[in-house]
Symmetry: C2
Subunit: 319 residues, 2 copies
């Protein structure tokens, strides 16, 4: 479900490092060559290129990209060139310094739309980079915004079982428990937070399906009707990131391009973090929901190297 396209055969890391070095040298930077190399390599390949680059030229690839590029293009390429766990740790840390729902989205994405092993690596990277733990900073930042702080701290601390095991009896009883909490306008009930922060994703998806079947409405719509607090809207985002992350990221992209101006940081984050995961599904969802294509919206709202880079990650750049 990834959208990036890797050439066959792929050049060796040495060849790629040399191509990049050449693109940096001389007057002016060859942005096209940088996109051509990095935009068509997987995370593992980019890591090898970065390791080879620092060995050959005694400077890190990210630092060189930082000095050669500028603007949104620079931000996007650097996020793409970084180790994914480190990238998410930095995005989360940055998000914690800001106010507003969109920044909380970042925390929830890292916690709920990531593979559990990736989340563990993010937590490790976070400790190394910031000398505190991710859950510590999340819990402190939202210490006086309960129950939101509790929800977020528990989501980022999760290490879910990744198998497909579903306990059918449990889906029914927990769907009922969710329904009761929502009906009583208690979406912050301990049972709800416990379930969302500990159950494996297959189990939760089955519970959400059961909910719709038994109670006639999707759980995320019902959560919305149970109150209009920041907590309920973030709970909805968590449910969405667990159950159907493609819906959430389609919304992130759409929100970033709607209205005057563009929220480039959000647009970049969505594309960079999902290009190798589920961008194909996000594009399909986008088309159904917004009656336009994600590519078309990106083309409308961006320009130059930044546009070319995003379209490359979307698998939609001219060959």
């Amino acid at each position: 479900m990834a959208t990036i396209r890797v050439p066959h055969p792929v050049p060796t890391p040495e060849e790629d490092a040399k191509t990049l070095r050449k693109a940096f040298e001389g007057l002016g930077t060859d942005e096209k060559a940088i996109i051509e190399v990095l935009g068509h390599r997987t995370a593992a390949q980019r890591a090898e290129i970065a390791a080879t680059y620092v060995m050959l030229y005694k400077e890190t690839l990210v630092e060189r990209l930082d000095s050669e590029l500028s603007g949104d293009f620079r931000k996007a390429v650097i996020l793409w060139a970084m180790d994914p766990a480190e990238r998410d740790a930095k995005l989360a840390n940055q998000a914690l310094k800001n106010k507003g729902d969109q920044h909380i989205w970042v925390i929830i994405e890292v916690a709920c739309a990531s593979d559990p092993d990736h989340l563990m690596l993010v937590r490790k990277a976070y400790c190394s980079l910031f000398s505190s733990s991710l859950e510590e900073d999340v819990a402190s930042r939202f210490a006086h915004e309960q129950p939101l702080g509790q929800l977020l701290a528990r989501l980022v601390s999760s290490y879910r079982y990744t198998g497909e095991r579903v306990d059918e009896g449990l889906t029914q009883s927990e769907a009922a428990e969710l329904y009761e909490a929502i009906r009583k306008k208690q979406p912050h009930h301990e049972g709800v937070i416990r379930m969302l922060s500990t159950r494996n994703k297959s189990q939760l998806k089955a519970t959400f399906n059961h909910y719709k079947q038994d109670y006639g409405k999707a759980i995320d719509e019902d959560i919305e009707s149970s109150g209009s607090s920041q907590f309920t809207s973030m709970l909805k985002v968590a449910v969405c990131c667990i159950g159907s992350p493609e819906k959430h990221f389609a919304e992130v992209v759409r929100t970033s391009v709607l209205g005057f101006g563009t929220d480039e940081d959000s647009l970049t984050r969505a594309i960079v973090s999902r290009a190798e995961i589920d961008m194909k599904k996000i594009k399909e969802e986008y088309k159904i929901r917004y009656k336009t294509t994600l590519d078309a919206d990106v083309i409308d709202d961006t320009s130059g190297d930044y546009k070319n880079f995003l379209l490359t990650l979307l698998g939609s750049a001219d060959p």
Copy 2:
């Protein structure tokens, strides 16, 4: 601070595997040889021996030990021969199936007296072994025992920063926050749980010191005076496992030998899990607190191969 003694030079894993194989074969098992090898090797060395053993003899070392040995000696040797993360995952899983404070201790020990990276490995092993996550099983098991369930789920989900960083301003304000919660008989306050489950251990130890300085009493004594619920006594255990695990494990050993009969499972757990970590400190603490030695209590309450094995791990067996 470990008590096990590794010979210099140490035999190769092949030599050790062969010695063990020889101890298993023929009429009767040579328990002494098993103790001699396994009781004098570090976790890394035991892992190498187990890997070599299965390669040479097409049977796992643990399975063979299981069929050769019996009783408390068997249990102890098997726990010692297992991968430590797997061992703790199994101990936690077993503890969750039982009722009573002593079983909850096991959960708290794994969560609070372990190195954060070890706890992560335990959580991984738990998922592989039991097809559910540790925090999921903890949260479900204690779903109707709040706030205890919340405390335990958050402690087992922690991944604390391991550096020595201490924020002095924070120690003061958080010591005050703890004091307020205890004074108002609200030890289950979100701030208390947040602090204990997210702050790094150096920070927490500094906060506990500050508490004693400012309020004249050790925090664990104060917690006890704030109520006599199961929650307060488990909170005290958590504080102890974070601040001075040697005190907690001295108590585990002492409780296991006191009165009629011996709680061999607890005695084994304490010695096996701490022999390579802080058993020297536990012995010192034991002497100060109980006016007798840990070795003497073990000698009084155990016998045969079991006794010899424990004394070997305690570094106190005859050479």
